[in-house]
Every structure is written in structure tokens, then in C-alpha cells.
């Protein structure tokens, strides 16, 4: 039943979202679009959590980060002023794009768990007829990757 054209559209959608990060104007923002790939892969990926540093225990990280185990190193530092605590992570060895996507999603989910106690769940949600058009499948691909992409 799977239509190869439609599943290809979803793949392209996922890839497009990755490429969108590189479309950024030079000098704008903090993405590593201009870094060489090895440097980009080694960058610390950082979220700031609104908790005092003594409430974020690097030895007892939320499950999504803990699941990455020894593959990542994690650094916890107080943020300036009232901003909370910075939680930074990166892989010890050269990661794949897929690995980095997993780390982004893990950092975001961990921040949510620390700040709100839950990770938002979205499905099942009410919706009508999902027409299987190439544009629709493209967006499905974008959405499926939206937690793993971005400038983080």
C-alpha cells in the first residue's frame, strides 16, 4: 500500500527542515551553519532551566538525557542573574546527524520535565481527512523531525 512517491515526500520534508537551518543569513543567530562540520558536531548544545543549580543534579539527570549514558558529557552551570541553570551536553565521540537530533530532543524533553514535570503529549488529537498529497506528506516529514531539528 505504501506509495513510494509519498514516503519520499516525507523524507524530503524531514531533510528540508535540517537544511532550513543553513539558509540563515550569515552572522545572524547562533546556529553552527558556518562552522566546519567537525566543529559543529562538537559544540555544546545548551538549554537553560529555571531552577537553582543545586536542583539540577548531573548525576541524576532526567530520563531522556540519562538514556544517552556515557556517550555524552554533561555540564551544569548557574546562569547569570535570575535565569536559572544552564544544562549543556555533547557527545564524547564524533556523532552522526541522527545522534545530534536525539540529543536536541533529549535536552528539550529534560528541560520540560525539570520545569513542568511532564512532557507534552500531542496524540491522539482530533483531525479530519488527511489527504495524502505530496505537500501534505512533506509537512508530515517536517513535523516528524521538528523535535530533533532547530538551532539547538
Amino acid at each position: 500500500m505504501a506509495n513510494p512517491l509519498l514516503s519520499r515526500a516525507a523524507d524530503v520534508g524531514g531533510a528540508l527542515l535540517g537544511r532550513l537551518q543553513d539558509l540563515r543569513l550569515p552572522g545572524v543567530g547562533t546556529a553552527s551553519a558556518k562552522d566546519d562540520p567537525a566543529r559543529a558536531a562538537r559544540r555544546w548544545r545548551v538549554v537553560t532551566v529555571l531552577l537553582p543549580a543545586d536542583r539540577v543534579d548531573p548525576g541524576d539527570l532526567p530520563a531522556p538525557l540519562a538514556a544517552l549514558g556515557d556517550r555524552i558529557e554533561v555540564r551544569v552551570t548557574p546562569a547569570p542573574a535570575d535565569k536559572g541553570t544552564e544544562v549543556a551536553a555533547r557527545y564524547r565521540t564524533a556523532p552522526s546527524e541522527e545522534d545530534i537530533g536525539r540529543l536536541r530532543a533529549a535536552l528539550r524533553a529534560s528541560k520540560q520535565l525539570l520545569e513542568t514535570g511532564e512532557v507534552l503529549r500531542m496524540d491522539p488529537r482530533p483531525h479530519g481527512e488527511r489527504a495524502q498529497t505530496p505537500a501534505g506528506r512533506l509537512l508530515d516529514g517536517v513535523v516528524a523531525n521538528a523535535k530533533k531539528e532547530g538551532v539547538l
Partner: protein, 389 residues
């Protein structure tokens, strides 16, 4: 249940869809009593926010009755009559704690999309595309409201459904612009756009003490409402040079605060309008900024320009020189609902803020496609179509 869904560019349908469920402990399920069209929906409909999937339930300005409560909800109970903020806010991140609720770090489950577009993601919004989270919208019999303790507000007995409805988005958006745009007692405020948002910005400017309020649009019935309900002076931009009129009205100074409530599909007569249309169609710019340009040029030196109108990405021919040399402050924001809704409900209870006149067309959900047609084409004097599921 019945719901209004986006079926493709400029196509809506009314479909039978599954009912929403409690998915997180902080959720409530609302039985929708009133839900309305917003100018922002027009940008979705016409395809300028290209993150809609066929079958998505739309609608983000609404009120209703709580019918089910998640086990983590503390402040709401079954039976509460509530109005709900259109943006979703967790209440515990730094942005929420600092009352910048639409910038919530935790309420947009698809952050990768807007981080790519804007460098940072913003909060999610009910019924407003996958870029803002992919939440099912309120044009339905039931809707899920996440973080209900933060985003839903009990409507006082003295305030009708029809009035409270617009605290959800139009009036709270307007309050965001009036407050963060810095309107002060004695100011002259100019508002571009006499839709629900612009009219509320005009009225709230007067409430916080603006001495003179001027509303700019081309639709006579909307300008009439702005005069009647906001006590504003009005300018029809199709027959009058807006900047010249504003100079004359303000002793040559220009307005202290300029609030733009038009958005990325601004209409403009003459060559500028053609230029923007062509560039937008060719995707050389995503947005048509005619009203923002005019506001920047008209604003007094050292004044403030606030964009409430929604823009998606890039604009062209922006008068940055005027902004810089005149020492202007340019700000914008999506609505920080929970910061303003309690005060709006008080103003509504005291009859200082009335909103019912915006609901020019009230109809059942099944007629929503017709309601959107009237609203989009501004036919039959339509200011807002309101649906009663």
C-alpha cells in the same frame, strides 16, 4: 464531533472528527460555547503560513465550559465557565514567570520549525499550524486546553459569553500592544487596522489614558464602529494621505505611539501595493508590510511603533533609516494572554470594555465556511463571524 478543518489553500470543511482527550495531567477538556474567526486565520487560509496539514482543526479565540479535568489541575473544575488564552503557556519557564507568555519555552512541541525561521522558537498556539505546535483548534464541539491553570480564566457572572469571548485573543492582543508599546496618559495613539484587534487597541488606549486616538482603515462600517465604541477619530487611507492627516492632527509632531494591527496581507493602493503583491507571489518577500512602513514614517521622533499584525518571515523596503535616525522604538509580540485577561474581564464586568459589536455574524459551526468567506472578503459588514458549536 463536528469541527472546522483546513482542507487546502482557501478551502475549509466541516467534518466529523474524534473528540479530544486529556493527554497531560494539566489538561482540561472544554465544551466550546463561542469560537470566532481572527485575522490571523486568514493568513493560514490563504497559505501564507505554509505549515497547515489537510484535516487540521482551526480556531484559537474561544470560551466554553470545563467538562473534564486532568489530575494535575488545581484551579479549575467541571462546570467552570472560562475564557482561554489563544497561546499555550506552561507557567513555569523563565518567559512565563516574567509574563511573556507567548514566548513560553515549553509549549511548542515542534520547536525545530520556528527555530529555523526565527533563530528561536516561540510558544505554541491552539489551532494555529504545526509551526506553532499543531494543537487541534477551537472551531469544534470540544477542545483540549493544556496547562489549564495558566491559560484559562473563570468568566465573572456579570459578563456574557459574547463579551468574554474576545478577551481570549483580540482584546488581549490589543492590550499587549498598548502596554508594551508604552501608551501613557496624554498620548496620541494611531492604530492601523479597524478589525477586532485594532478596535480593541483603540479602546484600550483610551482606557489607559490616551488623549487622542486615531484609527486608520478603508472599511466605512469598521471606522464607524471605531468612532462609536472607542471614541476614535478615523482616517480612510484610500482617500486621505495618512501621514499628512496625522501631522495636521498632532501639531506636526506625529503620534506618540503607532500600533499596527493589519498584518502581512496589508492592502495598499498604488504602486507600493503592486510591488508588494508581486514580490509576495514570487516568494521574494513573504509579507506585505505597507502599514508598518507608513507607521514608521508617520511616528513622532523618539516615538514607538508596535506590530501586532502577524508577519511570517521577511519584508522588503523597510525604512530602517527612518527608524534609526528618528530614534524610534520598534517592538512586536504575539499576545501575552494570561498577563491581560484578568484585567480585561474586570473592565468587561464594569462595562468599560464592550466587545459584542464585533460579532456581526453569529452562526452554527456547520456554517463556518460561509462565515470565513464573509470575514475574508469583508462582505455584509462582517467584522467577526462567531460560531456556536
Amino acid at each position: 464531533m463536528k469541527a472546522v478543518t483546513w482542507a487546502g489553500v482557501n478551502r475549509l470543511s466541516v467534518e466529523d472528527v474524534p473528540e479530544p482527550q486529556i493527554l497531560n495531567d494539566h489538561d482540561v477538556i472544554l465544551k466550546v460555547r463561542r469560537t470566532t474567526t481572527c485575522g490571523s486565520d486568514l493568513h493560514l487560509l490563504s497559505g501564507y503560513v505554509p505549515f497547515m496539514r489537510a484535516g487540521d482543526v482551526i480556531g484559537h479565540e474561544f470560551m466554553g465550559e470545563v467538562v473534564e479535568v486532568g489530575k494535575g489541575v488545581r484551579e479549575r473544575e467541571v462546570g467552570d465557565r472560562v475564557v482561554v488564552a489563544s497561546f499555550v503557556s506552561c507557567g513555569t519557564c523563565w518567559y512565563c514567570r516574567n509574563e511573556m507568555f507567548s514566548l513560553c519555552d515549553n509549549s511548542n512541541p515542534n520547536p525545530g520549525i520556528t527555530e529555523g525561521l526565527w533563530g528561536q522558537s516561540v510558544g505554541g498556539c491552539i489551532g494555529y499550524s504545526h509551526a506553532l505546535g499543531g494543537y487541534a483548534g477551537s472551531h469544534a464541539e470540544y477542545v483540549r486546553v493544556p496547562y489549564a491553570d495558566v491559560g484559562s480564566f473563570v468568566v465573572p457572572d456579570g459578563v456574557s459569553d459574547d463579551r468574554a469571548l474576545f478577551a481570549s485573543d483580540a482584546a488581549s492582543t490589543a492590550f499587549t500592544g498598548v502596554d508594551l508599546g508604552g501608551v501613557q496618559a496624554g498620548d496620541t495613539v494611531a492604530v492601523w487596522g479597524a478589525g477586532g484587534v485594532g478596535q480593541m487597541a483603540a479602546r484600550l488606549s483610551a482606557i489607559v489614558g490616551a488623549e487622542r486616538v486615531v484609527v486608520i482603515d478603508r472599511l466605512p462600517e469598521r471606522l464607524e464602529q471605531a468612532r462609536t465604541y472607542a471614541g476614535a477619530q478615523t482616517i480612510d487611507y484610500t482617500t486621505t494621505d495618512v501621514a499628512a492627516e496625522l501631522r495636521e492632527l498632532t501639531g506636526g509632531r506625529g503620534p506618540d505611539v503607532c500600533i499596527e494591527a493589519v498584518g502581512m496581507e496589508a492592502h495598499s493602493p498604488g504602486p507600493q501595493g503592486v510591488y508588494d503583491q508581486v514580490k509576495q507571489q514570487l516568494r521574494l518577500q513573504t509579507d506585505r508590510p505597507a502599514a508598518v512602513r507608513e507607521a514608521v514614517m508617520a511616528c513622532r521622533k523618539g516615538g514607538s511603533v508596535f506590530t501586532l499584525g502577524v508577519f511570517a518571515s521577511m519584508v522588503d523596503k523597510f525604512p530602517l533609516g527612518a527608524l534609526m535616525n528618528k530614534g524610534l522604538t520598534l517592538r512586536g509580540a504575539q499576545v501575552h494572554g494570561p498577563r491581560y485577561i484578568p484585567r480585561l474581564l474586570e473592565l468587561m464586568e464594569r462595562d468599560e470594555l464592550v466587545t459584542e459589536h464585533l460579532a456581526t455574524h453569529v452562526m452554527p459551526l456547520s456554517e463556518a465556511p460561509r462565515g470565513y468567506e464573509l470575514f475574508k472578503e469583508k462582505q455584509d459588514g462582517c467584522v467577526r463571524a462567531v460560531f456556536t458549536p
